[in-house]
Symmetry: C2
Subunit: 501 residues, 2 copies
Amino acid sequence: MELKEALNTLDRIQRKEIAYMHAMGLLSYDGSTGAPEGTAQNRGETLGVLSEAAYAVTTGKDTRQTLACLKDHWEELDDVTRRIVERKEKDLAELSRIPVEEYVAYTRLINEADAVWHKAKEQNDYNSFAPYIDKIVSARKRNAFLVSPEMDPYDYQLDKFEEGLTRSKCEAFFKTLKEDIVPLVKKVTARPQVDDAINKMHYPLAQQEVLSRKLMDLIGLDRNHCMLGVTEHPFTTGFTKYDVRITTHYHEDSFLSSLYSVIHEGGHALYELHVDDRFAYTCLGGGVSMGVHESQSRFYENIIGRSEAFCELLMPTLQELFPEQTKGFSAHDLFFAANKAEPSLIRTEADELTYTLHIMIRYEIEKKLFAGEVTSKDLPELWNALYREFLGISVPDDRRGVLQDTHWSGGMFGYFPSYALGSAYGPQILHRMEQDFDVFEAVKNNRISRINDWLCEHIWQYGCLYKPGELMEKVFNEPFDPKYYTDYLKTKYAAIYGLND
Amino acid sequence: MELKEALNTLDRIQRKEIAYMHAMGLLSYDGSTGAPEGTAQNRGETLGVLSEAAYAVTTGKDTRQTLACLKDHWEELDDVTRRIVERKEKDLAELSRIPVEEYVAYTRLINEADAVWHKAKEQNDYNSFAPYIDKIVSARKRNAFLVSPEMDPYDYQLDKFEEGLTRSKCEAFFKTLKEDIVPLVKKVTARPQVDDAINKMHYPLAQQEVLSRKLMDLIGLDRNHCMLGVTEHPFTTGFTKYDVRITTHYHEDSFLSSLYSVIHEGGHALYELHVDDRFAYTCLGGGVSMGVHESQSRFYENIIGRSEAFCELLMPTLQELFPEQTKGFSAHDLFFAANKAEPSLIRTEADELTYTLHIMIRYEIEKKLFAGEVTSKDLPELWNALYREFLGISVPDDRRGVLQDTHWSGGMFGYFPSYALGSAYGPQILHRMEQDFDVFEAVKNNRISRINDWLCEHIWQYGCLYKPGELMEKVFNEPFDPKYYTDYLKTKYAAIYGLND
């Protein structure tokens, strides 16, 4: 095979893979955004066929021969092609070790589990979903064993979402956070609660939908390539950089919930939409890791979205859309309401301060599941015990407890720590950004585009060209240091709750 | 290859084909139900890859060998397998004659054309869409030439939607209709117009959505396998018999529009949903032809939905949902409003009487396009001239004229005549059904399930097991006769407009 032919074949292979991922992504999205329950099994059949076809492309003779040829021409390849070859070889090595029947069966299992989880959560019926947890954990462990028998099976899951992350790194990282955040939460809880009356008014759904569109425009999301849907659990899915879907969930008695979901998912979407065009139909399109991804979504949600500057920017829009509800409230009131911190039940609606404790609870459970110390039957009790221990609250039912998140039904064990890592990346990114321009002055002046430009220049455009740790060190210009995060939280909450008064 | 192996392979091949059709169907559905315009090109890429994969399955070595083996064992095959082999051989013969590049290019062209048409219609900009008409007609003619060089290219299109339908059959059929319907329309138009004030009130969208769900339940649609969306132009798409999507379009100042769209598309969906389970993952799943399909949708919409019995059944629901709007109106008023007949601009909203004239106009244009007598540049003028000739009205703009239908952008030339054929099948079906039970008594008593059961027994369950003409003769127990249709129209409209007074 000639080099030129190999490069063409590589392009064709990747375009096929992207197309299958697009179709499979859309089928899943369809399943989450209104497709009736009775359609799930059929969707599973189709996902099975497509995943088998995708598997055949990724592990096929064409791919093997092309990669072998490109390795022979290594010296002639540019950096981008080298990185692609590296990633494709990793995919090939991994998939080759998983029998196609297991690969396809897993796709179907996940599709089925997702449908069962939706219903179980709706009906507060943990037992109907429980067997899927054991089946999925067992499949994920088997996957780890087949691909990397030398690795700890939970490390293998972590590495899937954040290359290089391990249980021992998590332990150290979470220890630092715990040392600083737990006492801070105690101090905050001891203070009088802030007033969030502005969030307690009735905000009709139809007007919240208008607000969502305005928020998308405000943060610079291109609605020609990004669409907002409604789901039980907000999420982002990028089929390609040209077609990104975000979802939210509206609560008429708490409009800040959807408001910050839109900004959070919008952060993910901005990242996906701004990867360089040359990577669009390659394996380098899309965000590099879930940690970096969450750093972007949580940066927009919390550091920008929950800043006083953003509240000032947003207030006139709120006053226009909700004149009755916002009467008598100021941007300052909005800022306080948006930063109300207190131990709570639902992760996705947790405040910025206590959020990481929700993550640690899930991390503790996943660790035990993968170590074989617990099985699905132990989870509700363990979950509730950890909520008492970490957050001091009682979980009234599984719907608001162990059934709340979509991750496990989707097989995404090992994902949660990346939320904490992403949260911790944020303040260090802010620190670097502020060396270049006054970030909150830009927000106040409706110049969020400056932030987008900066993040695009330093992070988004690169897609998966660099490894996540490598990319973040380039951004930070120093090693990652969670102290930026804990210092940021201390300063922010000291001001809001008057801890230094 | 052993017979048993061949049968297994045949099953596997069909399951793959169904999966690709499901994924491609969903991508198109997604494109029609909200996906932003900027995502169209990417969707085209994905459709290209999937259609190439589907082409490879249908024309691949496995398929050829399997079909050859089954032909060798013909005497041992049951009727169902024989019909499957017959249809797969036809597909193979057709596709083998179309080069894969042309096949894929056509899929992309259609995807692009659909996006352009949506925008063109919205912006009343015929010129932006016109080149696609020529490209698609040219591609369809080329397709006909490659597959059946001996056939008239327009006959080839007709046969795609109704096996065995030809231009000469259309000419005879439309001549009969024209002879009876045109004078009838003249008589009706000369009479005082019926009162449709009930349809002129303001019906809020949200309440119409509730009505749609009630209508779906009323006609016995299983909402666990059938979902309702909103699009510019209502349609039905069945991914499989387990997942059928229907759409509607709401007008707050004319609630009958969506009401009858839901019933029409619901008729299509009932057919798809009730094909026998054993055909679900085979090429015999789904309706047998567009003519038979339209006979079902128009049977529910017009013969059932616009009957006085149905209006009586529906009225209490309308009074409950719209107490203000329906105050002072009776079921009789609803019946008159639903059957108001007058020459109008939009086919999908045309009354039952003048509907066929809209079809004839499109038939005249398609015939000329395929005979090379006109090209896209002639269409607006020709369209408008035919509307003056057939319906006596002036078309104010292309949005309400030549751009109104989705069919041409989807390559569905030759489809329209099946609407007329389906309309004409309906009264002959009713005639047979009434020999078995009192149809309108059943409607009045909320026993539409009896109608569903009858249609399921005589038509739906068979899927594509029989050829459409063969199936309908079985149903009618005599040859097809359009006189049932014209007699039905004459009787119905004589009563409504007092033509015999």
